[in-house]
């Protein structure tokens, strides 16, 4: 696996992500600066990490989505390369048009940091194959604008095509407003594009990968990627 983690001004979970990638795959990812115009040669996974790129000013992810490096990311996705956007990264790739819809302010209007439960709705992806179908996992969230919205047609399409990959639920897997931390449509926590190579999610699997974090439920996501990608030389 040859991963590249993008760094925009104001991004702040890039180290967490890089540590998780290195811990699970054994290979340190390349850190790629936003003004670069190319990805390192041979990159097979681009990760857009969490944070507050450009302070979340204007709209979260909006300014980063227009950075020079994003053209290379779009081309990478176009070629079928894997792209993972987490939290601010999800917002950025959505703003960049790699995924449909938008992420708006949490219904509570507050930033929320806590552990939630997620239901793995689709394990047939390069990002989730190490989970069981319907598995309920724990995962932390930390965001102020994770409320996924899209027009009815888009939502219907995502649902019909099984492109909702993660959904907020309670510990028993039940979907309910009380278990939805941000008011997201259909409790959507993560979606994938039609081709299955671009995943965006609000929760932070990189913050639940060792005993110190209180659990390991984030690890299978990285295990899945390691399995899907060729071993780096």
């Amino acid at each position: 696996m040859k991963a590249a983690v993008l760094v925009f001004p104001g991004i702040n979970r890039e180290t967490d992500m890089a540590k998780a990638l290195a811990a699970v795959s054994g290979v340190k990812p390349a850190m790629v600066w936003h003004t670069d115009t190319d990805l390192p040669a041979g990159t097979d996974l681009v990760v857009v990490p969490g944070g507050f790129s450009y302070g979340d000013y204007l709209r979260c992810g909006a300014i980063a989505a227009r950075a020079p490096i994003m053209r290379a990311v779009a081309a990478h996705a176009e070629r079928g390369g894997l792209v993972l956007g987490v939290c601010n990264g999800f917002q950025i790739i959505t703003e960049a048009g790699l995924l449909p819809g938008a992420l708006v302010r949490n219904a509570s209007m507050k930033f929320i940091c806590k552990e939630v439960n997620l239901k793995v709705e689709n394990r047939e992806t390069a990002f989730t194959s190490a989970y069981r179908h319907g598995q309920v996992i724990r995962c932390p969230v930390a965001h102020g604008e994770g409320n996924y919205v899209a027009d009815d047609g888009t939502i219907a399409e995502l649902e019909a095509e099984g492109r909702v990959v993660f959904r907020y639920c309670d510990p028993t897997g039940h979907i309910s407003p009380a278990a939805n931390p941000n008011g997201s449509t259909n409790a959507i926590a993560g979606i994938i594009n039609a081709r299955g190579n671009v995943l965006g999610m609000m929760p932070h699997p990189e913050n639940l990968i060792e005993a110190l974090h209180g659990g390991l439920d984030g690890r299978p996501l990285f295990d899945s990627l390691v399995a899907a990608l060729p071993k780096a030389a």
Partner: protein
């Protein structure tokens, strides 16, 4: 020249901020308030002197950055 861009949410797009304000106004005793929607104004100082050119430029800025046309509409006004 000064331009003001007003960015508002499209009809039908959920507006948590508007909802929160609705609730807060009601609990403050302002009971004559129906729907509340929140948007943005972006005031720009422009070096351009030609209005038509400026208009086209600001429209381009909106489409490329200032508004997310998936969920937002925009309108441009000129002052002075």
């Amino acid at each position: 020249m000064k331009a003001r861009v007003v960015v508002t949410l499209k009809n039908g797009v959920l507006d948590p901020q508007g909802k929160a304000i609705e609730g807060a106004l009601a609990s403050l005793g302002f009971d004559g308030v129906g729907e509340v929607r929140v948007g943005k104004v972006i005031d720009l100082e422009l070096k351009a002197t030609d209005k038509a050119a400026a208009e086209a430029e600001v429209k381009a800025m909106c489409e490329r950055l200032l508004a997310n046309t998936v969920i937002e509409n925009f309108a441009v006004q000129f002052v002075g």
